[in-house]
Symmetry: C2
Subunit: 370 residues, 2 copies
Amino acid sequence: MAKVKISDVAREAGVSLGTVSNALNHPEKLRPETLKLINETINRLGYLPNQSARQLAGGTTKSFGLVLPRLDHGFSLQIASGAHNEARKHGYDLLIANADNDDILEDHYLRYFMGTQMSGVMVQPMASPDWHPAMAKMPVPIVHLDIHCLEPGYYVAADNEAQGRIIAELAITRGARHIVVVGRAAFMQLTLRVLGIHKALAMRPDIKIEVIDAGEWNTAADGYSIGAQIAERAADERPDFVIGLTDVLASGIISALVDKGISVPGQILVAGCDGNPLAWSGSVPLTTVAPPGYEIGRKGVQLLMEQIENKAPAKTKHIRIGSAARTVTAVTATEDINRQEIVRPFLLERASTQGSEQAEATAINLGAYL
Amino acid sequence: MAKVKISDVAREAGVSLGTVSNALNHPEKLRPETLKLINETINRLGYLPNQSARQLAGGTTKSFGLVLPRLDHGFSLQIASGAHNEARKHGYDLLIANADNDDILEDHYLRYFMGTQMSGVMVQPMASPDWHPAMAKMPVPIVHLDIHCLEPGYYVAADNEAQGRIIAELAITRGARHIVVVGRAAFMQLTLRVLGIHKALAMRPDIKIEVIDAGEWNTAADGYSIGAQIAERAADERPDFVIGLTDVLASGIISALVDKGISVPGQILVAGCDGNPLAWSGSVPLTTVAPPGYEIGRKGVQLLMEQIENKAPAKTKHIRIGSAARTVTAVTATEDINRQEIVRPFLLERASTQGSEQAEATAINLGAYL
DNA sequence: GCTTGTACTTGAAACGCATCAAAGGGGCCG
DNA sequence: CGGCCCCTTTGATGCGTTTCAAGTACAAGC
């Protein structure tokens, strides 16, 4: 049970310590038979390099850390997937930590990763980003995901305002006369969606718009109760288009409407926001705006690589990635989970490599339909 | 940008190196004012302990590693959640790695975690567990999740056979005369479910049973096409009860049946297996057997703790955790996601702490209904 | 005033490895 | 046979911590 170390391998193989180290890190420097001998010995002894010592002596780890607020949110998983694939492509490992909706934990893992001399760290931060400037001073490249403020630093976010705009424009296209927006805009992301909706409808005073708060956590149950409430209205009081600020909300709303005998999309159209696989699979298709989680993760890693490879990287880089509206049904849902293709065609970005000037992005070419 | 180290803090604070270390690890040993001084200096300088050096010198990390086959499977996430919460409870960190359905990567991360001197490592392994015995020799506590073979070692798994039995008994209770089981039993877990179904139906030759393979990956699309196929049969050829070996399959089946004008559960009852939140949210409720992912993660960490705390831990411990059948609808789905309560009441275990004798477990007290 | 004890603080040793300047060992040429 | 060069291997050094035996300062007790 005693751990076997590099010196044990060296002794056993009859070579020196440095040679074993070379076998691990610069195999091309060894004579093939020496290498073979050492590898056999390593396997026979079950030697496992001590990563800590390795890091300490070598200075680098070739791995990234990713701190996520929760594990059970589809969007975070898309980010993780994108980040993972991109990281592997560059030969880096990706380690994920779950902050479990807890600021303290988030901070804890962030420091942990930095202290492990990770080559870079990414966070999808919780609501209050007060500490970001402090973290930005750390000697490890860091990228903030799914958040977009004007602080100097590296940020990659979905364009939430555009998401709201897209859905609203969809509603206009479909001839909506009365729109109800459902959801508690507790987080910046949701607030921006509402903003986008309002902006898109600013020129259309003829369209009635109504925003309904939805319980504290935007759950499907919240959606359901509001959906039920809408269903009970007199027919002429009912909206013809409902926007759930969240797919989960939209899914609850649809259930309620259908349960109460209202046809979706026959009488009322319902759209969501999130592109959340967790909320798909219903037998009623749901049109939703998918924030490109996979792309955000990918781009995050690319930004990390950029900082690592450039000796004098830009101080600040803000990226916004456009979204795509799409219709998902139970059947197509799992096909869409295919992570290689998610929202790729809709990727748009413009970054400012100098200063903190904010990037512009417009979503175009959307294959949106109900 | 130069990293500040403990000696910098010591010099700046005018104390010795060892004192700063004590401030970090044994604050109770310091005079309050010394502690305060050091903490201020640490904050002022932005000092971040080098975890690698720390580990190397101290020998332990108080953190666990978890290697998951994929991130986008609800069951894995439940495991991660359970493991996370239990780990935090003991003051341990949890780091998660995504093996991305790749044996090589799985192995890679496993070795990585072991090499990082993690206090313990957990894996939810891919199909072929050939390497397990080799890994079990490693000097780090390891627990295998969601798999149950007779190799010596620590295993925590859902009782998949029981899941099949539960669903089949459900079918019997509901008066099924003709059952169709849909799914490709490519993995051990699914094979066991089928086995459980057959066992439960062994005494009922009057019930017709049919197993239909379902494409390579058990997708919703696979379910859909088989559902459609079932719908097209003559009425007297159609089953009255369909079991999807996977919730995703079941969800596809339901969609197809409903699309083809067959009422669910009016004409055909459909049940799933997985308790998969990803597959909930449909407007048709789905009865499913939920493997207690959260409990498996929890138990896994507890087993790790056991190995850590006992100087002479049992060599082998196999645990099976019972499952619960439940009906989920779009609306109750997110409430069920509440991770504190998942299948807790149905937890059953009996472990053999001596030898490799296999544990018995029976699912009782099930609140199963359609 | 001296001893003993208590409460902190110190600094050297060790953790396991990567690195790199230096040494070793052939082969080739003159 | 000597000198040179190239290919391979060597082993001392240091990475940033923790730990712990030894040290210091101060107070109380005699």
